[in-house]
């Protein structure tokens, strides 16, 4: 099967700091991949390189047949980056809903402004997605009046309404109160079940174990393990993976 995301020989430097070291990963369509690792291991940076919120220093990203080389400039590059961003939806740790727009306006903003979609059509898709994340009843509220979990569910609906091929989640539950994590994870499970390709940076080992098809472990800007969750959690090959999993287990 043709990979939908192909990361090849990716390097990322922040000044002299080498945060991603020659990373190559393929992700198949409909696959749910969790990225785990200690903070500072480069997992968020890797995710943000896929839609070029961080510009990779070397190497290339390919999303759904569009290949973009890192470290370039100019009009062609910008157009390619734009095309890649249309194919990817992103959910942030801090939700980043637009506070001056209602929930519905937040969700239709992308399709109407970026894709030039007809407003009515956008509203139809938006309402469908809001319904599936259970937030349709708040569609005319401003984000200020929502709880963290509700905000994150709206953010997921906003990303889905752009009809992306791949969804990127950057620690989607890390900013939430413990009792609100469940509702967001449930929505993410639903999205996975609907066949979306997902790449999730997370600390939720339970979620990784239950939902992921593959779990990738990062440490010091390198991939140290990439396997099925049942193997990884029962029989980790790398001692660093084992330490990471043990740490979460004792934390639970």
């Amino acid at each position: 099967m043709e990979a939908i995301v192909r990361i090849s020989n990716l390097d990322k430097y922040f000044d002299r700091l080498h945060v991603l070291k020659d990373i190559s990963v393929d992700i198949q369509p409909r696959e749910v991949v969790c990225l785990i690792g200690r903070s500072g291991s480069g997992k968020s940076t890797l995710l943000r390189c896929i839609n070029f919120l961080e510009e990779p220093s070397h190497g290339s990203i390919e999303v759904d047949g569009i290949r973009v080389a890192g470290g370039e400039k100019g009009k062609v590059h910008r157009q390619l980056v734009h095309d890649v961003r249309l194919k990817t939806g992103m959910v942030f740790q801090e939700f980043n809903l637009f506070p001056h727009m209602t929930v519905l306006e937040n969700v239709i903003e992308g399709p109407v402004i970026v894709k030039g979609m007809d407003r009515k059509e956008a509203i139809a898709i938006a309402e469908e997605n809001l319904d599936s994340v259970g937030m349709l009843f708040k569609k005319d509220e401003y984000p200020m009046r929502l709880s963290g979990g509700q905000k994150q569910r709206v953010a997921i609906a906003r990303a889905l309404t752009m009809q992306p091929r791949v969804m990127l989640f950057d620690e989607p539950t890390s900013a939430l109160d413990p009792e609100l994590i469940g509702e967001v994870l449930n929505v993410m499970k639903k999205v996975a079940k609907d066949g979306m390709t997902m790449l999730v940076v997370t600390h939720e080992m339970g979620f990784a174990r239950e939902v992921a098809d593959r779990v990738i472990v990062m440490s010091d800007g390198q991939l140290i393990e990439d396997s099925k969750p049942e193997e990884l959690f029962t029989d980790p090959k790398d001692p660093r993976t084992k330490a990471l999993i043990d740490r979460y287990r004792t934390g639970e």
């Binding site: 942030f92 980043n96 637009f98 001056h100 402004i113 970026v114 200020m144 906003r158 990303a159 752009m162």
Partner: protein, 321 residues
């Protein structure tokens, strides 16, 4: 105090009671402030009433001084005239006390208030044109301040530094009196608008810059992730939020600009409130009356603008954040 919640019939919580006490305190404070304001205003009116209290020669009297035009030897002269309102033959024990308030020439005010009031239109016109120019300049300067291009950054900071480093009065004269040497002749109005616009643009750029940097990085990232171009991100996401932040201080600037528009009268060719007041005041040596009149007009204008501003502010506060 009512210890039960009327709707639910339950005991009120401690927090609710505390809140009530605080609200009541606030209400009493506000009421007393308003009453004091009224008192101060009455005192000011009394100060300009022309009333005189006197106690001398065992007679205590209250009289009102005013101006009248009387004909003396076929020449009309303006004269201070006393009208005794009341006098009591039983004077206060210590003789020779007198309490005088300022007598204003009501006749003069009646005759000239229309003339001065006609300046309001001009004052509003100058302020409105200047504020529009200032907003455009301030926005450009603020964007320049946030630019990563060194030349654009320099142009913006240079402009702000130059304008803030020189007096507004000088700038008005520069546009009105200095530019004609270069064969650029501006009318008093346009010289004033240009100077005020440039001046307030420089000051307001700070407000705009603060507004723009109040919008978090996450907002830009979310917009980028949706595929918005930098232009779309600015127009749809950053500017609306920045403006919301900047509108209250912009209101303050607009109010002070309305008053600074008085400086434009110095050109002698813009017939706004200040110009009219000084003209009639000098002509009849009634500067106090003329300036008091102008002050009242400016004050009423700023009071109106302030109330509009606070209304806009409460409406903006409702939406978000």
């Amino acid at each position: 105090m009512n210890l039960f919640n009327k709707e639910t019939g339950e005991n009120k919580s401690q927090a609710e009671l505390l809140y009530q006490v605080q609200q009541k305190k606030k209400f009493i404070f506000r009421r007393n402030v308003i009453l004091s304001w009224a008192g101060l205003l009455l005192f000011l009116i009394f100060l300009f009433s022309g009333i005189e209290l006197r106690s001398a020669n065992r007679v205590t009297s209250i009289s009102a001084w005013h101006f009248e035009i009387v004909t003396e030897n076929d020449i009309k002269v303006r004269k201070r005239v006393e009208r005794v309102l009341a006098s009591l033959p039983v004077g206060l024990p210590n003789d020779g006390i007198s309490l005088k308030t300022i007598a204003v020439d009501n006749e003069f005010i009646r005759n000239n208030s229309n003339f001065v009031a006609q300046g309001i239109v001009q004052t509003i016109k100058i302020s409105a044109l200047s504020i529009m120019l200032a907003i455009v300049l301030a926005l450009l300067a603020a964007l320049g301040r946030l630019s990563t291009n060194p030349v654009i950054y320099a142009v913006s900071t240079f402009y702000v530094s130059l304008i803030r480093g020189t007096p507004l009065y000088l700038q008005i004269f520069f546009f009105f009196l200095a530019l004609p040497q270069l064969n650029i002749v501006l009318t008093g109005l346009w010289a004033g608008v240009l100077a005020l616009g440039l001046n307030y643009g420089a000051y307001m750029s700070e407000t705009f810059r603060a507004g723009l940097s109040s919008v978090g990085k996450g907002q830009r990232e979310a917009a980028s992730a949706l595929g918005m171009t930098p232009g779309q991100t600015m127009r749809r996401i950053v500017l609306p939020q920045a403006l919301r932040f900047a509108i209250p201080p912009m209101g303050n600037d607009f109010i002070s600009m309305t008053k600074d528009s008085a400086l434009v009268s110095a050109t002698g060719f813009v017939h706004e409130i200040m110009w009219r007041a000084t003209k009639v005041g000098r002509a009849e040596f009634r500067n106090m009356e003329a300036l008091v009149m102008a002050a009242i007009f400016y004050w009423i204008m700023t009071l109106l603008l302030t109330s509009i501003q606070s209304r806009v502010e409460t409406r903006l506060a409702k939406g978000d954040r």
